[in-house]
């Protein structure tokens, strides 16, 4: 009889749910630590504001804004005789010397900056975390090799390299993100992550994993990398800042192959000769410059606040 074998249902949770709950719990603790610091919150609010702008742009283009007038690259307003025109209800931030809407350009560029920053940061952190974990785990010749390489990369003049590179090769957005990601990935981030990985290496659970028969790569991926992620995440923030900044500088000097970005907006102003007329044509220079500054400093502020979450020595007693 099959009914006789009473099945006792043990409240058995699958492993992933336990992990998820643990993750959720640590996230909540860290969040409350993060919120304690108004500096991080200020940064986060600014980032959210820009994210809204980035998301709103395609919606506005579909509904309210006529593409022939408001397109950030090809638009032109024929109803206004003289461009650049000062801000009006039609163009909240005025138009640029080529008759395009400044607000639309500003919002459109936000998407580009976010994509660039995130791609560069992901590349940086993947490289940095992998190499940091591997050189801490294996030590010896691998460690020496990567650390000397890091020394070399740290010493490279970053902006000058980007300038020379973009002059010799035609860089577009993705290639730029790749270059920034690789340069900062092999440099300082690796050194910092490696020193963190060294403290993980001596933890008992690594020993336990090895005794239990875990292979090298298993230990690196399952035990090292997750423990390095908070630090990696922190350095993502700083990489985003430097990526956005570098892109803006290169665009400003007109060295890069991008259709529209905040740096290019100022570059357009410069080539049209309105750069020193800030008082009269403020909407050509102030919004774009302010946007670059604000977004860069927002990511930096969030990074600083995360630093206090990740580094217990900086916490308040």
């Amino acid at each position: 009889m099959s009914n006789a074998t009473a099945t006792v249902t043990v409240p058995h949770k699958p492993l992933w749910r336990i992990r998820l709950e643990l993750f959720w719990k640590s996230l909540r603790t860290n969040w409350s630590l993060f919120v304690e610091n108004p500096i991080g919150v200020i940064g986060l609010v600014i980032i959210l504001f820009f994210a809204m702008m980035a998301l709103l742009h395609p919606i506005l283009m579909r509904t309210v804004w006529d593409p022939s007038v408001y397109d950030p690259i090809t638009g032109y307003d024929f109803e206004i005789l003289r461009h650049p025109a000062p801000p009006s209800w039609r163009h909240l931030l005025g138009t640029d010397p080529l008759g395009r809407d400044v607000l639309s350009q500003l919002m459109y560029s936000t998407q580009t900056e976010f994509i660039l920053g995130v791609v560069a940061a992901l590349i940086t952190v993947s490289i940095g975390t992998m190499i940091g974990a591997v050189s801490a785990y294996y030590g010896g010749i691998i460690d020496t090799l990567f650390m000397r390489l890091a020394d070399l990369v740290i010493m490279l003049p970053f902006i000058s390299i980007l300038i020379v590179l973009s002059a010799l090769f035609k860089l577009n957005m993705l290639k730029l993100a790749l270059v920034i990601g690789i340069l900062s990935g092999f440099g300082g981030v690796t050194v910092i992550i490696k020193s963190q990985a060294l403290t993980i290496k001596v933890k008992p659970y690594i020993e336990a994993a090895r005794v239990a028969g875990g292979g090298d790569w298993h230990i690196i991926f399952v035990h090292f990398v997750p423990n390095l992620l908070p630090l990696s995440f922190l350095y993502m923030m700083f990489t985003v800042t430097s990526a956005i900044f570098s892109e803006a500088v290169l665009s400003f000097f007109g060295l890069i192959n991008i259709r529209m970005s905040w740096g290019i907006m100022i570059h357009t102003t410069q080539t049209a000769g309105y750069l020193l007329n800030v008082g009269q044509y403020w909407w050509l220079v102030i919004p774009a410059g302010l946007a670059i500054t604000l977004l860069c400093s927002a990511f930096y502020l969030v990074g600083r606040a995360l630093d206090e979450v990740v580094n217990p020595r900086l916490r308040r007693r």
Partner: protein, 383 residues
Amino acid sequence: MTRYVLRRLVQIIITFFLFQTLTFFLLYAQPGDIANQYLLNPNLPPDAAEQLRKELGLDKPPHLQYIQYMKNFLTGNLGVSFTNYPRPVIDIIKERLPRTLVLFFTATVISFYVGFALGKLLAWKRGGLFEYATTVVGVTLYTVFTPWFALMMIWLFAYKWNLFPTGKFITPTLWRNTPFTANDVFLRMIWTGVWGGVVAVAAYLLFRRLPPPYRFFSGFLALFVGIIAAVIPWIHSPMARYALDILWHMILPIATLTLISFAGTMLLTRNSLLETMREDYILAARAKGLPEKVVRDKHAARTALLPVVTSLVFSLAFAIDGGVITETMFSWPGMGLTLLNAVVQEDIPLAMGAFSFTGMLALLAHLAADLLYAYLDPRIRYS
């Protein structure tokens, strides 16, 4: 110590070779080659182009080209600039390097001083409105879009209020019919600066030995003595007005650079000090009943200074790199502006020369950082 320095030197020479190799391959990997500069001329017949290519050694295999490139670099032959034809690249760099160094050295020292003082305050007054406001302002300035910020400074102080020149190194109208060049005056200014600095340090060491009530002003007094020592040789010199002209052109770039970079030192000092303040000897110093200022300046800040000093030299290297931006905005004819102009005008020999020297400066700055660190921290003794 000597062995450590030697080892670092060897390491840096190797790194520099790698850097030069990288530079060469960047040059080699670019689409086309250097001869294209001349070949774009439609009047040039194809066999002349081939001849040119042969003369420039571009028909050789890459490894021979590489050896030639290294040999030329080490003998100081960086080629001839296209845009300043026929001036050799090394000549241009010799002229412009001091300008960059002076600008950034001055700005770094000032911003270091300001940043350290502010950082101490931030760590001590943790959690207040003062800390948050200063941090936000500092970070905003630190991550500000430099070209834009420089532009705002120029617009406000030079264009609107007319206090400073809008840029450049000298006022051309003033320098008409002068018997000496701007570089003569500038080199003399550098030597004066070094001399004034030496006198100030000597005076400081001397004043430190005074009894307590006078000792507290030793810093100011030493600065004063140093400035006087620097000014005296200029009083009757015909160059004095011209030196003042150069100084006048330096103020705005230095102020801008200081504002941009002081926050780096400030935030680092704050973090370093916060970590130091947890040490037991700080508690002990407080328990002894020492005044807060003494605990902060004499006990905590000295230990906290270590990472900050290293960062000072790093930030000099960083500043020289970022100098491309500042120098361009202020039309300051240093290495950065030279690099950018060379790149934009596709003057490849000059660009590569400027690039190599920027790299070399960064390397030297790193060496200096290590030495300073070893000297300052008695716990670290390299052997």
